[in-house]
Symmetry: C3
Subunit: 345 residues, 3 copies
Amino acid sequence: LNTEHGFTLGELARLLDIQLSGDAEIKIHGLASLESAGKGDLGFLSNPKLQSRLSDCGASAVILHPDLASTSPLPCLLSLDPYVSYARASQLFARRRAERESVAVIHSTAVISDEATLADGVSIGPGAVIEAGVHIGRGAVIGANVYIGFNSSVGEDSHLNPGVVVYHDVRIGARVILHSGAVIGADGFGFAKDGRQWVKIAQLGGVCIGDDVEIGAGSTVDRGALDDTIIEEGVKIDNLVQIAHNCVVGAHSLLCGCSAMAGSARLGKYCTVGGGVGIIGHVSIADGTVISAMSFVNRGIDKPGLYSSGSVLQSGREWKKNAIRQLQLDDMARRLRELERKLGE
Amino acid sequence: LNTEHGFTLGELARLLDIQLSGDAEIKIHGLASLESAGKGDLGFLSNPKLQSRLSDCGASAVILHPDLASTSPLPCLLSLDPYVSYARASQLFARRRAERESVAVIHSTAVISDEATLADGVSIGPGAVIEAGVHIGRGAVIGANVYIGFNSSVGEDSHLNPGVVVYHDVRIGARVILHSGAVIGADGFGFAKDGRQWVKIAQLGGVCIGDDVEIGAGSTVDRGALDDTIIEEGVKIDNLVQIAHNCVVGAHSLLCGCSAMAGSARLGKYCTVGGGVGIIGHVSIADGTVISAMSFVNRGIDKPGLYSSGSVLQSGREWKKNAIRQLQLDDMARRLRELERKLGE
Amino acid sequence: LNTEHGFTLGELARLLDIQLSGDAEIKIHGLASLESAGKGDLGFLSNPKLQSRLSDCGASAVILHPDLASTSPLPCLLSLDPYVSYARASQLFARRRAERESVAVIHSTAVISDEATLADGVSIGPGAVIEAGVHIGRGAVIGANVYIGFNSSVGEDSHLNPGVVVYHDVRIGARVILHSGAVIGADGFGFAKDGRQWVKIAQLGGVCIGDDVEIGAGSTVDRGALDDTIIEEGVKIDNLVQIAHNCVVGAHSLLCGCSAMAGSARLGKYCTVGGGVGIIGHVSIADGTVISAMSFVNRGIDKPGLYSSGSVLQSGREWKKNAIRQLQLDDMARRLRELERKLGE
């Protein structure tokens, strides 16, 4: 990766607020892994054990821990946490690219209600539709063909990518990123049974999304039945994740791709939910819980720690032999107990 | 939740066709749970065991069973099934909100073929695209940026939310709700192997969706290979559900979030499929079957009842010890049998 | 299914480049299974064991193996691989339908940057948005409300269905089909932890999609962190599939619905991944591997073959008894070993 107009190493040191060791005038055009870095690239060494890779690395400079600076064959940016500095540097390069592409404009084909209010510096793409009562905060970017329903709001510097749909009465905080295909505020899945018919329970609550939340492509967060569904600040949600009505996702938690929370489940703060995990409804998960990929959370968790379920990969032949025994487990346990009893006699 | 213009208790009794006990002039602005209800709210008591909660409930009135009316400290609406009456009441409040927001208009930026036919009272949002041969029934609402392909039809009073995509030759019944991100009629996943290449099997069938179906955000229903994929009347499908080509979903069945049916699977009527369930292709599931969340339905089911698979949540340490034994199950069963033989001697 | 303007049997033989046995002037209006075929339909017999079904089949003609031609009661198209010929025939009928519907036009409501380049014969639907630096190859079809971001490219004869979103710097090959709701190039899920906050790692890589790839409705392929995410030629991806950043999907592999690959996973060529499968990050799967539905691939696979995990469906009553034993497996194994030791003494 190369951006046409990069930074000097000195500029990067200043922007990242870290020390520099080497020529401040070196031109940096992009970021790269140590393996693939070439001239003009900035690499990063987050694992000190991989220091030997610097010797044949083609990068023009590298982010590393100050302890390693003296032995580095390359010019360095010195960071106590090189991985975090890499993350911050990546944002600088992404922003530079974005600046070349976009200027804050309200595209003429956007359909914006007279009763919506737009703060300064808002950008609205072609075909976007903004309904009455909507407020868009300063500097927010609303992509092409986005829909924002009645009385919803979007905070400052938030970015809704093309095709995002936000239903009515949804509050979105500042610096929120919603990726394409995300749908916020669709009806929760609620029905009452009247004889043999399902009667729809209209979903009268909303959705409230805190500051600095990111929600991935194709993910869905349903509106609440009566109260709001809540995504607290700093939560990061990957692609194709389903958050059902009246869930609460605690601040700074991560939900990986294809995970799902059923209705009224509460996830604590600082949790990590692996990919493909399913969490049943009406349970609470303690702050700081980690759930490994593809687990089924069929009960609440009141003590933080690592939790797992899910089965282990086998060859098809082995699986066929072993899987059938799953049906005999209780029988096996009883027979084992009986043998123990006999031998104990 | 409060709506600006609510109902009197008397109006609600009349609209819900149930009896009233108390002042008919009480103003009701919204619905709420007993816990959070305040002045102007209507609560509901669906579980008689929770009757004690009425004593300190702030609601202005409550829906409850006639047997409990005499001891209720609050004005009541009397219903033999308070939960169903709550569902019907929720629709009244939702409709009032919707009426304030929308009037049936064909937005000037919608692109509608001269060869499409629109019945009276149809509403079409900005940027919607309606192709030739499409018929839209009376009172249907087509949201912003919806696409409806050639020769498809949408029944009376159906509601397609913003961004829904309906491919060609799809028939959608009356009072159907499709949520944003839903895609109806994309190609089924069919290929023939020619040597080492995949040859696409064009999907020449359509999709047929019955009356009163609801399909959640981001869910996909593929068109059939030769015959149609069929969703029968009254089916309710949650978010991010995948229905493959030539499936048949029986009337009034529920599919919860992230469940999936593989090609040509047939689900009976009045079934409940839990979240994250996967059903293999070419099997039939009996009417009235219930499948618990995260189960893998790897065979047909000919007898209704509850079915499950899936593993049980454990601490990471316990899981590590136990999971490895899954690979030894058959061996353990054989050794157990051998011990029994020896002890029998 | 019937198309208004079909083919004669002779035309089909010529277009499919196979032999004909029977009247070349027979009119064929559509394809159908042997069970449902009627006058004007062409059936196909891919399984020779089902030959007896020809006797009461209503089709006007049938595709079958030359060995069966002499005993066929129906006019035949003779193919060494009738299923592949059926696939090719299905494309002929689909193309004829498509020709009647669409002509290559740039719709007046599409918003196309002056700095985009469009080859001859490109069709762009209403409301589509094409940013600067985009190149669209000859004959490509860009559906209604599609978004294509800065500097992305679409190869010849590719087809992006309505509502598809392609972010910036994505390269899409020739004859690629993207279904509605697919999102290509959204940000990979990458964050660095800075104290108790997540710092976004801007995703500076792109996505590269080879020729003849098909990607299903609602599926997501994220852009890479530094290098590209790669989908090689001929790959077929079903609906609601998640491909995380920096994955590599080998040529001609199939991924069925709701499967997912976590970051930097590498799937070999000619693999088949069943529905609902989850593959963890940073592993490699050998060419030609087959993974059965709903499996959890929690490690790399270096030897091709069939792999499975996942549990077996049980009645709810049986499951309740057996599932609890999953928690005792290690204990059972130890007790079994102890019994063996005692009996061995």
